[in-house]
Symmetry: C2
Subunit: 189 residues, 2 copies
DNA sequence: TGTTTATGTCAGTCATATTGACATATATGC
DNA sequence: GCATATATGTCAATATGACTGACATAAACA
């Protein structure tokens, strides 16, 4: 049967699919002999799924708040980063988000039009439009970030500082660019 | 010097932006007196950003592979979970993805039409369409999952088992439903 | 037999992203 | 000062992924 190596059943409705293999211990066959347990296929798959579930839930509540105002997740990202780095330029933002300027344009213009973000001409380089949150923008930013911060804080508090440090290390390892890793420079510990 | 706690400048082009004041708020100050360091606003913000950067990079390479075949991230998720739980029903999948059946429909029909996924009538409950990957689907699933598994494995290997355990704990803490947490049953530690 | 469930579909809409082409103002190097 | 490069913006077309609402069918269940 194809279902020997399966994770546990999903729901009563699929009970038919099987009591299948209990905890699926052996799906975690080593990728190579001698690989430590935490690098087995099963553990790696779990990590993939954890990222999916956690990210989905992490963005869920902000998405709802934004939807009430006719905004989406893309607006959130812009508001977040402009709040984080006030006075950043458009190209800085593009560099972080890694989307095209046309994509950013629609979102950003909307935020400017609706009074969440202000654009000021740069003084050193007058081609630049430096971005800052208006009061209205800050208010929304706080609302959204509060939501996510509480979620993270709750998780952090529940697991303690060592687990948090492990989380940080793994996240840094997943990022593909040194530039991004550098944003989390060696912190006071 | 309100910018004490400000993240470092983003790029040479905004160096001028540096001492930009402002809305700094209490960034970095404890949320409440007595809160441990890892629960300070700055640390929580970093976690928010890490999730963004890590998720963005985590999905980047699969997105490119999929784009070559005219597929998107939504197809990836379907292929992934059908590969993970072969014989799952449509409602199981909806339950995991937490999208509407109409949204799933377009993606799933396309995958069936293009021969990545097979739908078989359930034997116990004949209303159900049980989903499995075809050979073609398995091939793509392996290609995509391999990519992500390698990324995770590299990160895991670099940081070691304790950090990985910390990562797991935090991710579980971020998930909002016990049902999802239960997918990662208490493992041998 | 009547109701609920699992699935599917039609239609309309919105948000987010893409590519490509082109425009303007400013900076910078020779 | 002129040529080129950079920062930003805009128009147009297109794809993808999500939503709501309405309705349809088959099978299970009470």
């Amino acid at each position: 049967m194809t279902d020997i190596n399966r994770p546990k059943p999903l729901s009563p409705t699929t009970a038919a699919t099987g009591p299948l293999s209990g905890s699926g211990r052996d799906r975690g066959r080593p990728l190579k002999t001698g690989n430590p347990l935490f690098l087995r296929e099963e553990e790696l798959r779990q990590a993939i799924e954890m990222l999916f579930y956690a990210y989905r839930d992490f963005t869920g509540e902000p998405d709802r708040i934004l939807a009430d105002r006719g905004l989406g997740r893309a607006h959130h990202r812009v508001i977040y980063f402009v709040g984080r780095y006030p006075g950043m330029s458009v190209s800085d933002l593009l560099n972080i988000l890694k989307i095209t300027k046309q994509s950013l344009s629609r979102v950003l213009s909307q935020l400017v039009t609706e009074g969440y973000i202000r654009q000021d001409q740069g003084t050193v380089d007058r081609r630049q439009r430096l971005l800052t949150l208006t009061d209205k923008g800050q208010e929304l930013e706080r609302l959204l970030t509060e939501t996510q911060r509480k979620l993270i804080a709750r998780a952090f508090r529940a697991v303690g500082p060592e687990a948090v440090e492990g989380f940080r290390e793994v996240m840094l390892g997943i990022m593909s660019s040194d530039e991004d890793r550098a944003r989390f420079g060696t912190r006071a510990e």
